[in-house]
């Protein structure tokens, strides 16, 4: 019975939080998945779909995703993206002159 009451693992909680965030990225045809959580509690994510190569992906991470996860889950020390694809396109909805 004690097991039923204990806090879910960090990985489970991160996954749950990401599931809640997915629809926001889905609006732009993108997505996010958990790759790894390091021993010092750095969450490594990979952007999927239209987020790959998107110029706004890093901004989304730094000014949205990171804070969303870290305010919910106290143990997280940082959130980083492992994507290394070059920027190929702008975010939808941004106009350029």
């Amino acid at each position: 019975m004690v097991g039923l009451m204990s806090t879910p693992s960090l990985k489970t909680r991160v996954k749950k939080a990401l599931t809640a965030i997915q629809p926001l990225l889905g609006l732009h045809g993108g997505g996010i998945e958990l790759v790894n959580i390091t021993t010092d509690n750095v969450v490594e994510l990979r952007f999927d779909g239209a987020c790959i190569g998107c110029a706004a992906a890093n901004y989304t991470l730094e000014h949205g995703l990171k804070e969303m996860l870290m305010v919910q889950i106290e143990e997280i020390e940082d959130v980083v993206a492992v994507n290394d694809e070059p920027v190929t396109h702008q975010a939808p909805g941004i106009l350029f002159s």
Binding site: E67, V71, E74, E77
Partner: protein, 245 residues
């Protein structure tokens, strides 16, 4: 720490502060009391840089900075913190984002490294715990639908996060119940007294039952007319402002 010298200020050409002078030492808690219309709140507004007031002459030196020559946001970055009587709400901006942006903006203005998110959140969690504010509060929109007590909790949280050099609490006790007053008092106790001075502007002695001032000054018609220790506040509670009105 703060030296106000012969400060004269007016609103709509009506003089309010008349050669007002006051010195505050580092870590000193000083109370400024006085009847309505004596110029207490004007002093707070002029120090913060409220555009409705015209500074005619005098100076207000906060450490090496002449406050009166700075824009309001520069005064804040140099360590001035004025708790709002009626803080505005900011829909769509969470308390935690607001506090972090405010802190980072001040750090940027001072040319300091920005506090990273993980460090900021740890500090915020610790400060909220000390003030007995539940973590959910940090995710609510700034002041939106907040009770009077909740608004004051956020003001106090802001004060602790920004680590100011000079805190001005202008009539912060007006309309507050005892629990909210205790939150204000607890927050003031948490300030680093080695670097932070406090000016408490109040009409009543009540708040001073919870925050013990080192010095008390009475204002009348834009000037200080009497100065003393905490006993002066108690004396005023008994006699009222009759002698000063």
């Amino acid at each position: 720490m703060l030296t106000i010298s012969k400060l004269q200020a007016s609103i709509d050409h009506t003089p309010i502060l008349k050669k007002f002078s006051l010195s505050i030492k580092p870590g000193e808690i000083t109370a400024i009391m006085g009847p309505n219309g004596s110029g207490k709140s004007t002093l707070a507004h002029v120090l913060a840089g409220h555009p409705s007031y015209e500074v005619v002459s005098g100076s207000a030196q906060l450490e090496e900075h002449e406050l009166l020559e700075l824009d309001p946001e520069e005064r804040a970055a140099r360590g001035l913190f004025l708790a709002f009587q009626y803080p505005p709400s900011i829909p769509g901006v969470s308390v935690s984002s607001f506090l972090r942006l405010a802190l980072n903006a001040q750090e940027k203005a001072r040319g300091e490294a920005l506090t990273p998110l993980n460090v900021f959140l740890k500090t915020l969690r610790a400060q909220m715990k000390q003030l007995e504010i539940p973590w959910e509060f940090s995710q609510r929109a700034v002041n939106e639908g907040f009770s009077g007590g909740e608004k004051k909790r956020l003001e106090m949280l802001q004060m602790l996060i920004l680590k100011p050099r000079l805190v001005i609490l202008d009539e912060i006790d007006s309309g507050l119940d005892i629990d909210a007053i205790k939150v204000v008092a607890a927050a003031v106790q948490l300030l680093d007294r080695s670097r932070t001075s406090v000016i408490i502007i109040t009409h009543y002695q009540r708040l001073l039952n919870y925050i013990k001032p080192d010095s008390v000054h009475v204002m009348k018609a834009g000037r200080l007319v009497k100065s003393g220790g905490p006993e002066l506040a108690l004396e005023l509670e008994k006699t009222g402002y009759g002698d000063y009105a």
